[in-house]
């Protein structure tokens, strides 16, 4: 587990989602990356009933990179509380489904997973109930857990195969340059991007 950057990749008008994934696959293969299966990050969102004001939201996220864990992020106004739990946490959400009924359709990012020396690259197609929404590229630099120590290296690597859509490290990491990176940080980055895709108005990237 190391510092991970999540980067949206623009889908051009003349390309479909799968074509964009193919295009990026060829690029990372040309760099010498080896495919090692598939990955999946999915998110279910539960919203509290009006009987329990104020309204709160719980995002429950699974990441195939951490198959024994369930990640949950609770939003109560401006306050968010992250939680990492065992797989059985899903059963608990079923128990409180009267208070927190599921509100939004499942959003997920899935696609091929590659390894290239110390890097792990994942090319994800984001879908909301099977509707394609965009492409999210996840790059992990596994030997390092402090973003500040590898920011230049990661920016250069990302620009190397994604091009000019990479301006620098995302603001999420810029705000946490000195912290020890943890799996929940990857989940929080996914949630930030999922929130943009969920916005009904217009195209997000």
């Amino acid at each position: 587990m190391g510092v991970t950057v999540l980067q949206p990749f623009p889908v051009l008008d003349n390309r479909t989602g799968p074509q964009t994934i193919d295009f990026l696959t060829k690029r990372v293969m040309a760099l010498g990356a080896v495919q090692s299966g598939q990955f999946l990050v999915d998110c279910d969102t539960y919203v509290s009933t009006p009987s329990l004001p104020p309204q709160r939201t719980v995002h429950v996220v699974h990441n195939s990179e951490h198959p024994a864990s369930v990640f949950a992020v609770l939003e109560n106004g401006p306050k968010t509380v992250p939680l990492v739990a065992d797989g059985l946490f899903d059963l608990l959400m079923l128990k409180i489904k009267n208070i927190y009924p599921k509100k939004q359709p499942k959003i997920e990012s899935k696609g091929p997973r590659f390894e290239l020396a110390d890097f792990c690259i994942k090319l994800g197609s984001v879908t909301i109930s099977q509707n394609f929404k965009g492409v999210l590229v996840e790059v992990e630099y596994r030997p390092c857990v402090v973003a500040g120590y590898c920011s230049g290296l990661m920016r250069e690597f990302l620009q190397g195969f994604l091009g000019s859509c990479v301006q620098g490290l995302p603001p999420y990491l810029q705000n946490r340059m000195e912290e020890i990176y943890q799996p929940i940080n990857t989940v929080e980055q996914y949630l930030e991007h999922f929130a943009i895709y969920r916005k009904p108005a217009g195209f997000a990237m």
Partner: protein
């Protein structure tokens, strides 16, 4: 080879929630429970007996020093009375780096005139990060009560036996300083966590409880029937 492993793995994780609901019959989600208590001056005899009967005979019994917080949240089902839902958070004060344990405990069955040999209640045990207390508070749960339990844990096959002293927390709420015991006795619990439908284990528990008589009488305790004046 590795990619093949990953392929099968991704098959496994494609639908975590569906996986877990289909696996329900192998998840240990039923707790079989018998309870009792012994006076402080009799506890050494009981511990001695347990040391002889239980699996960890050659090692000393496992001590624990836990802080438990009990939360409730009202479960609204349309057209019915709101039901309180109980969630407990337990942490080892002597091992602060260990995961916290979150437990859902259902309504106990088997008390009263019911023919079941032990109390049976549904139970979900979940290891979590230390943010669970804040998570539950923000979720809308209310802290009902909390206490510190200090004692020993024994094992006998699938059975777990705990002998513990319950302490109040002092005003500053810092558990490791808690010194005021709630009573002059120890709580004794015999429990098994098993998948549903394994009622045979309840008979084993009854037999084991029989071997501890008359040092301690383990029985189905209906918490609701204990007079409140005891507190």
């Amino acid at each position: 080879m590795e990619s093949k492993d990953w392929g099968s793995m991704s098959q496994l994780v494609t639908t975590p929630l569906e996986q877990i609901t289909t696996a329900l019959n192998i998840i240990p989600n039923q707790e079989y429970l018998l309870q009792g208590s012994v006076l402080d001056n009799a506890v050494e005899v009981l511990l001695h007996r347990l040391r002889g009967l239980c699996d960890n005979v050659d090692t000393s019994p496992e001590p624990f020093y836990d802080h438990e917080m009990c939360f409730t949240i009202m479960s609204m089902e349309s057209g019915t009375q709101p039901q309180p839902l109980s969630l407990r958070v337990r942490r080892a004060t002597d091992y602060p780096d260990m995961p916290f344990q979150l437990r859902y405990i259902g309504v106990p069955e088997g008390t009263g005139n019911n023919a079941r040999p032990t109390i049976v209640r549904s139970s979900i045990d979940i290891g979590t990060s230390s943010t669970i207390v804040e998570f539950l508070t923000e979720l809308g749960c209310r802290l009902d009560f909390e206490y510190v339990a200090r004692g020993y844990m024994f094992r006998k096959g699938r059975m777990k036996i705990t002998v513990s002293k319950i302490f109040k927390l002092n005003n500053n709420g810092k558990p490791p300083d808690a010194t005021e015991p709630i009573s002059q006795s120890y709580l004794v619990e015999l429990s098994v966590l098993a998948p549903s439908g394994q009622d045979a284990i309840a008979e084993d528990m009854r037999n084991f409880a029989e071997q501890l008589r008359p040092l301690v009488v383990l029985d189905k305790i209906d918490v609701k029937r204990i007079p409140m004046s005891m507190s």
